[in-house]
């Protein structure tokens, strides 16, 4: 009966407006020409064409490990360039025939480890890398990942061992940078920076990808040990390579924020709102400048963290902790996130947010694991030392 339905509609509309104020509702677009979604790239884009070609090759012969690894690797590169985690799932799908095998071939194991570490499943990734290295001790890529994961877990002797192996199976530049990376957090930061600089001078032929990685490390080391001029020089050199790299942009933005140069962050990242990592830096810069887009960005970030929580994702806890602490002023929430993050990731940036949150929440005891690590590792960091000093003063 029509009238009944109208009343029901009005009632339902009233109720839903009351209960879900501001929530978007499904709609019917008004014209066939209305564009609903922009795809990241046209099918004609050369990179997309290459991906599609590989996809078709794999569809024709899904058991071809060579094609599967090539496709998975291309997808992984796409994640690094675009920051879109969907490609990680696509990479995993390409590796489907080997994904659940107890003892897959070396190539498949290394690829599986790369995908697993993206999801912070470090122990499973290390198990795969170790097995791959037992079968093929000369696998430079596996040693590089082994070193990187050990660094994230703050297991420096293992990291150093992996770097020593890497030196034999990779370029001198990468080998040197790997060891310098470990040295830089274990009390030898000045020597580490010098080693990297001299290795860079001796390897002018290094690929842009290698240079990017090495320059980014150098910049971080210099910034940490309180040499902003040298750090900026390294960041600028890395940016001049003009490779899409979300990590580099985030690190440089943090450097600028630390130096109270938020306007430059807005200019640097103005087109990077798609990435959660970079959107956080934008929002922080907008906050420092009291700039208008802050509220919108903050709202978007909150929505994305909520969406991740629904799914059970914990990949961006460090960013979420900074969001809660620096944008929302929610110290206890930030501390809980930073603590949980620190059980998985123990790099200097993870340590820093835990110290900041513990300080803001007046819970110096929560910072204990970081203080212990600082004493044990001999890390040289002006920012961490200041925070630790404040925390001890607060005790």
């Amino acid at each position: 009966m029509q009238r009944l339905n109208i009343h029901r509609l009005v009632l339902a509309a009233l109720l839903s407006t009351l209960t879900a104020l501001g929530a978007a509702a499904p709609y019917r677009p008004q014209s066939d020409q209305q564009v609903l979604e922009k795809l990241p790239a046209r099918a004609a884009d050369p990179r997309m064409r290459e991906l599609n070609d590989l996809r078709h090759q794999l569809q024709a012969s899904p058991q071809d490990l060579g094609v599967a690894v090539r496709l998975a690797r291309r997808y992984y590169e796409q994640v690094a360039a675009e920051g879109d985690p969907r490609y990680i799932g696509y990479a995993q799908a390409a590796m489907a025939p080997w994904w659940n095998l107890a003892d897959p071939p070396v190539q498949a194991r290394v690829m599986r480890a790369i995908i697993l570490q993206f999801g912070h499943q470090f122990d499973a990734a290390l198990a795969d890398l170790d097995a791959a290295l037992r079968a093929d001790p000369g696998n430079g890529e596996a040693w590089a990942w082994r070193a990187a994961i050990s660094m994230v877990q703050a297991h420096y002797p293992e990291a150093r061992g992996a770097c020593a192996q890497l030196r034999q199976h990779a370029s001198a530049l990468i080998g040197t940078a790997c060891e310098a990376y470990v040295d830089s957090v274990t009390g030898k930061a000045a020597a580490a920076a010098e080693a990297i600089r001299s290795a860079l001078r001796q390897s002018p032929q290094a690929s842009p990808g290698e240079q990017l990685w090495v320059l980014t490390r150098l910049a971080e080391i210099e910034a940490r040990r309180g040499k902003p001029v040298q750090a900026e020089e390294a960041y600028k050199a890395a940016l001049a390579l003009r490779l899409d790299d979300g990590y580099l942009l985030a690190a440089y933005a943090d450097f600028l924020l630390d130096r109270q140069r938020p306007a430059e962050v807005l200019a640097l990242l103005k087109d990077s709102t798609r990435s959660d990592l970079l959107l956080l830096r934008l929002a922080l810069a907008a906050k420092a400048l009291n700039a208008a887009p802050r509220a919108g960005w903050e709202h978007d970030l909150a929505a994305r963290f909520d969406a991740a929580r629904l799914r059970g994702d914990k990949l961006h806890q460090k960013e979420e902790a900074r969001f809660e602490l620096e944008l929302r002023g929610q110290a206890p929430k930030a501390l809980a996130l930073a603590r949980e993050n620190y059980t998985l990731q123990r790099e200097p940036a993870d340590a820093r947010i835990l110290l900041e949150a513990a300080l803001a929440a007046h819970q110096p005891d929560a910072a204990e694991p970081v203080l212990k690590w600082m004493a044990a590792s001999g890390i040289e960091s002006a920012a961490l030392n200041t925070l630790a000093h404040q925390l001890r003063g607060g005790k």
């Binding site: 978007a24 499904p26 677009p29 066939d32 609903l36 979604e37 922009k38 995993q92 799914r311």
Partner: protein
Amino acid sequence: MTRLTRFVVVLFAVLCGMLSAGPAQAHKPSDSYLTLTVGAQGITGQWDIALRDLDFAIGLDADGDGNITWGELRAKHADIAAYALARLAVQGDGAACAIAPGGQLVDDHTDGAYTVIALKVDCPKPPAALALSYRLFADLDPQHRGLLKLESHGQTRTAVLGPQAPTQTFELQTISLVDQFLAYAREGVFHIWIGYDHILFLLSLLLPAVLLWRAGVWHAAASFRAGFIDVLKIVTSFTVAHSITLSLATLGVVSLPSRWVESAIAASVVLAALNNVVPVFRGRRWTVAFGFGLIHGFGFASVLADLGLPQGALLLALVGFNLGVEVGQLTIVSAFLPLAFGLRRTWLYQRLVLVSGSLLIALIAGIWLAERVFNFKLLPF
């Protein structure tokens, strides 16, 4: 096409393009949002699936320009529903439930546009446990997840569906037959209160109950008892009559075209109201209540059918709804009778309420009649 229309069309297309080119969408892993609502009348749902994922799976960007338009999406609605529903299975207590897709709309989530598929899930009987098997995009993106919101009887649960746990079972708080019965009874009460045509029909018949027609004029009835008996006769015969046809129509014994029924209901209101101005039936108004009550019953039946009838509990729904209608009706009558009795001697009641009120009712019902016969809309109710 005039030049101006052409200009507006072009401008509109440009504006739409600009709007959707606005903020770039965020990156997040692929999720779909599945909401299932278990109610007294069955299970309904809504499934939001990202256009980006659907494009990757079955291709939506027909012209390959990197933009998915509403036209391109619309053309794929059937394919999308078939693709998605082949990858979702629902079982109620171990028996497969049929999932029927409804229309599709569009919604925007933090990472872009989603198609929104309405779902209707039919289980053989109201389930105590619901098992969901979810395989959407499992072969293309093993990290895709379905974020489930399951609402049953005021309780909301969430779960993450995907290859990590392909089939998950949810115990539902079973609704007792009593609750189901009460739910239909409430619907019955609700319907009579907002079904103005039924109320006006009944009131038209009841208005003269506290009066007597003598020598071409209405006089106040002497006793409350006389008025009460008149009301009782009218209400009882209306109830018996509409219960008969409501039952027959709901059980599928008789069916009449709804436009015909709705028009006849409007006509019944006109006649009942005019009878107060020029009394034809007088003391036999209960026969009118009975005759037209049969028609009103068909109207109730179509409402009950719209609400959805539970399999296995048809009779329960019918009796519950019918009793609800009677309770709603009795509430109106018990408010009316004392008021009318108290006012029956006044000019206000005899002239204004009875005559002018009845004329007004006849006018409104006349418009309804025209609306329903000629299928147009004039009144907002």
